[in-house]
């Protein structure tokens, strides 16, 4: 499989000269064609900012990409003129958000919103755009799609709105779909509907999906590969089975252990001590050192690098450093 998206040494910072918040502090990863990759982490780890950087939607002027490149099929998206980004957003890369209500316009009908995307990107007439919209709504599981075109968003439930968002995102056949916490606001039974739909879409369209979530259950349902982020950095990249079978980084281990399991009994939950570092906090050495159970001297002085273990696996931890092994 060839590479669709390549992110190299991306740094997105906030603030001014006096105080800099490094929301993303040098991340590298690749997404192959047709692959579903999950980006996991807790609040404030920079996972949503990663998606906004890819979309060119980092809130300016306080936030900016200070370094690095984002290559979509070889074209660098960083610094691309806004005019060209218009052609890419919605067409090449589409995005769905956590809150489907706030991402739909309440004063326009579903039909207006769906067709305007299609008319803009696919350069077709109104009639044709409507047919395409109906086709997409059918695909995401609506039964009377043509009637739905005349409805307003407030008439729909949360799950239905999220399905409309998926229909809209998929209507121009994007190469990459970024799903930022797509099921977090939904109930479990509705979440199940949306997850089934996303599985179907990734299979039928062979679209690459970048799934951003904090829910390891959802990750395990959808993703093939997982990127774990902590405090603006990638701490581990692994194939899904490897990650849950034998997590390497102490943070990943802690994260998996902390989740109460629906099957089986645990006497006491594992918990990572302490808190996520505050944004802008300057930390010397490894950012996880203060909470890590396996911390040693070197961790507090030096920052470990993201080290490639094998073809599919990387980890940022001195425990897996050859020097330490010797």
């Amino acid at each position: 499989m060839s590479t669709l998206l390549e992110v190299n040494n991306l740094k997105t910072h906030f603030g001014n000269k006096r105080r800099v918040v490094k929301a993303i502090d040098g991340i590298d990863f690749k997404i192959k064609k047709g692959e579903t990759v999950a980006l996991v982490g807790e609040s404030g780890c920079g996972k949503s900012m990663t998606s906004l950087s890819i979309m060119g939607l980092v809130p300016a002027p306080e936030g900016r990409i200070v370094d690095g490149e984002i290559l979509l099929e070889g074209v660098d998206l960083v610094g691309l003129p806004e005019k060209r980004m218009y052609g890419i957003r919605g067409k090449e890369i589409a995005m769905i958000f956590q809150e489907p209500m706030t991402s739909l316009n309440p004063v326009l009908t579903i039909g207006d919103q769906l067709t305007s995307v299609i008319i803009h990107h696919l350069k077709v007439g109104k009639k044709e755009a409507e047919n395409r919209a109906v086709e997409m709504l059918d695909l995401v599981g609506f039964s009377d799609s043509r009637k739905l075109l005349k409805d307003y968003p407030h008439r729909l439930s949360g799950g239905m709105r999220q399905r409309v968002m998926i229909a809209m995102a998929m209507s121009c056949n994007p190469k990459l779909l970024i799903a930022d916490e797509p099921t977090t606001a939904l109930d479990v039974t509705i979440q199940a509907q949306v997850l089934e739909l996303m599985k179907k879409i990734s299979k039928e369209f062979s679209t690459s999906i970048l799934l951003i979530t904090h829910d390891l259950g959802v990750v395990s349902e959808l993703a093939e590969r997982v990127i774990v982020m902590y405090a603006g950095q990638i701490v581990e990249i692994a194939d899904i089975d490897d990650l849950f079978k034998s997590p390497f980084h102490p943070y990943t281990v802690g994260l998996i252990e902390s989740v109460p399991k629906i099957e089986g009994e645990i006497e006491r939950l594992y918990s990572i001590p302490g808190n996520v570092p505050a944004p802008g906090e300057v930390i010397q050495g490894c950012k996880f050192a203060a909470r890590c159970s396996k911390v040693f001297d070197r961790c507090r002085k030096e920052m470990p690098t993201l080290r490639k273990m094998d073809e599919s696996r990387s980890v940022r931890c001195f425990l897996y450093d050859d020097e330490e092994a010797e």
Partner: protein, 348 residues
Amino acid sequence: MESTDLLEPTERLELGKTKQLTTQETLLQVRNLKKYFPVKAGILQRTVGHVKAVDDISFHVNKGETLGIVGESGCGKSTMGRSLIRLYEPTEGNVLFDGTDITNLSERELRPIIRRKMQMIFQDPYASLNPRKSLGSTLNEPLLAHKLYSSKKERDEKIKDLLNVVGLHSSSMNYYPHEFSGGQRQRIGIARALVLNPELIIADEAVSALDVSIQSQIINLLEDLQSTFNLTYIFISHDLSVVRHIADRVGVMYLGKLVELANKNDLYAEPLHPYTQALLSAVPVIRNTGVQQKERIVLKGDIPSPANQPPGCVFHTRCPAKMKICETQIPEFKEVKPNHLIACHLYQ
């Protein structure tokens, strides 16, 4: 410091690692509880209908146990929690706390019973703390109102002890809510609930807004406190995995009704109600925990509006095992196996 120092000698209990359920004494008895909200319309604001948020619920809670209540948004689980301590006035039904019917007591009569012995922990601790009051004065207020300690020194002592118990530094008394992180705020919410030495704590989505690593800290804290102070919990949550971990018995709610109630192991291993079955199968399971994902039952459609409940069984519009009788008759909530109650025509 030793957390037992806080307890009065009579209240002191043996600290055990595991919860001891020696007594089967009932602490709270709920009978046919209903809470309807009127729907008003027109210039005259006439009542045109009712939202049946809680509709005829009965259950009991034993001393020292944790009753989990699960359900999806809009099922009435929060309304039920609030009706129990009369933050909402119940429309009908009785709530008995330690044998006393508290549904018709006046506010003055309530104060020594539920206002002191029943406390609540909320989902968003920031929204439930006064941003202009330091932590110390927030925690001081209930002690003053209930005249529990005569001197300021004693009260401060109590508050400092309590902060240590919930894992905060005693110097944080002088800080304001915005200076704490989400997890710390939830610890404050817990400290406030504990300040009057309550017997029953209703935790409404107490860990839902927290990150996974913080969530497990708070869950462990709640379990520790339960065994230290012999607390009884009603733990309301939409997260089935968390409830499985913390609860002893679990009740499942759908559209204002309790559809199933059983010991947690029975409920999770062998759910009987079609809704419970679908709910459990819908939870995404982490791979390699030694279990296969259950055959997923994907329910069609959405939850009907509680203002316009379907006739008969409330679940029949989405039920995969629907029969003719379900459309017209409301199933009775009754025991079909020992300690396993269910409201479904399949088992009647």
